[in-house]
Amino acid sequence: MPISAGSAPEVRPFGPLRGGAADAARSLVASARLAWAIEGNWAQPVYLAAFLIVRPLAFLGLFLAVLSIGGSLDVATIGFVVVGQAVFQIVSAALEGPTHALLDDRERYRTIRYIFATPSSLLPVSIGRSLVKASIAGFSALIVIGAGVLLGVPMRAGGPDLVLLVLVLPLGLLSVVGLGIVLGGICVQLRNDAWSYPEAVSSTVFLLCGAIFPLEVLPGPVQGISAALPITWWIEGLRRALLGTTSPGILGAMPTNELLLILAAGTAVIWLISPRLFVAGINRAREKGQLDRNTAS
């Protein structure tokens, strides 16, 4: 369409975060559909389902086998591990998702240059990809919880605490996705081993967040770091919503309303910072020529 004198064309700043909310929503939906196509169709549905079931159950079995070394297991301990292990499936997927999406597009499919050239913003694209990975992991989490029920884990009488669940679930998910996009913005600037950093962070968080053992087992100074992680409180909040009981030690001592406050404050801080860090990271990667680089790693 020719530009007539007097009608200025719409200015769309070039960069990883541009356009209005409607543009962002369109990008997010499109990237989520793309992520489902990538994550969900690598095998026949029956194989996909088997994969989503076998690995998390093996993880759970591994931890329960280790716990059983210390003598017969009580259902409360199994419940603690089951919920922690189930929720961490989602944590891991959401933390690693944005980085893997960016690196997949940069190195494997070599499409990041095209995404960058379209009106889409990389931020909603990365969030969309991450949310789908987290949703697929959510299926595995349900399988693990189902296995726990079969093992006799006493769930909350009268079903899950829906009010707590509705408050805790999105807050925690947002905080993890926020941390994931920060990680993505950092890793896309790296040349070597960019794929490994998210897994290293995820493994460290697993160690710190009290997913499978109480925080008291960790050395004293490390417990402080654990308590500062929103993920720690997310898992504890979900334990309370699903099991109806509090965890032993520091985690259980926190009243639920304070737990919610900490989780909400942590999530707010993360989302205040993470988009800025992501944009800065992408811009720096672009300036350094890392955005379109194939490291063959």
């Binding site: 093996a58 993880f59 053992f213």
Partner: protein, 296 residues
Amino acid sequence: MGSSVVGAEATALISRIHEETSWSLGRRVRHAFVSVVARAYPRVIGAAREPSWLFFDLVFPILGMCSIVFLLRSRGVDEAWIASTILATALLSFWISVVWMMGAQFHWERDSGNLLLYITAPVGLGAIALGMAIGGALGVVIRAVIITVAGVLLFGAKYQVADPFLLALVILAGVAAMYSLGVCLSSVFLISGREADHLGSLLNEPMQLLGGVYAPVRSMGTVGVVALGILPLAPAIDALRQVAVPQLAQTGILPVGVELVILLVMTIVFGVIGRMLLAHIERVGRAGGKLLARAD
């Protein structure tokens, strides 16, 4: 048109072609040996030139080890199990190398374009696989030692090795059986498409569970006993636990000698099957034109 070769010149040429293509057994063995050394070289030397690889090869197992140790401590179990966990983590570093650096290697080489070079070079895939195995095992030894030392320093684990020779034999037999299985896995990965990464993941935690890596295979019941006969991790860690942590000797499923024999049989059987599978897949892949086709 080029000039045609006739008479004595043609006879000489034919005889030269025969000489260069009909190798004696000795020459074939020498050539295979050189190929194995050439493929093992980057696994040992190249890996040492990239410190970040060493860093990540150590970070992941050590973090996993810490999780299991803290889990055990939360249950107040005997410290002997901590020592066993550290050994298991060191052994797992070999298994992870088998899955990703043996099994998935040809798959990655195909996607990055290197498999084309292997196929066109006068080297068999079997020799390359053996080179990867030997180089990989040598490269992982240093990582396994660092993991063990780190575990001992972090958690104060203690070992009582009465027979160091037997310990070395168990480690050697376990590693040989695992890498032998890796040759079989490389064929499976080579015919895999996008599912290869997921297949690799399935060979980690589920196999750690079945192999009784952190908890005795006895806790898995019949499935665990079956694993002793087909999964090298199971007899290797069971024997290692009995030899290096005598307090846990009573948890052993079979005597160490029997487990050594099982590992030896596995090494031979998996090696032969792997060699046959690789040759078959190479032949079928060439005929179908899919050997070098990228997965994605």
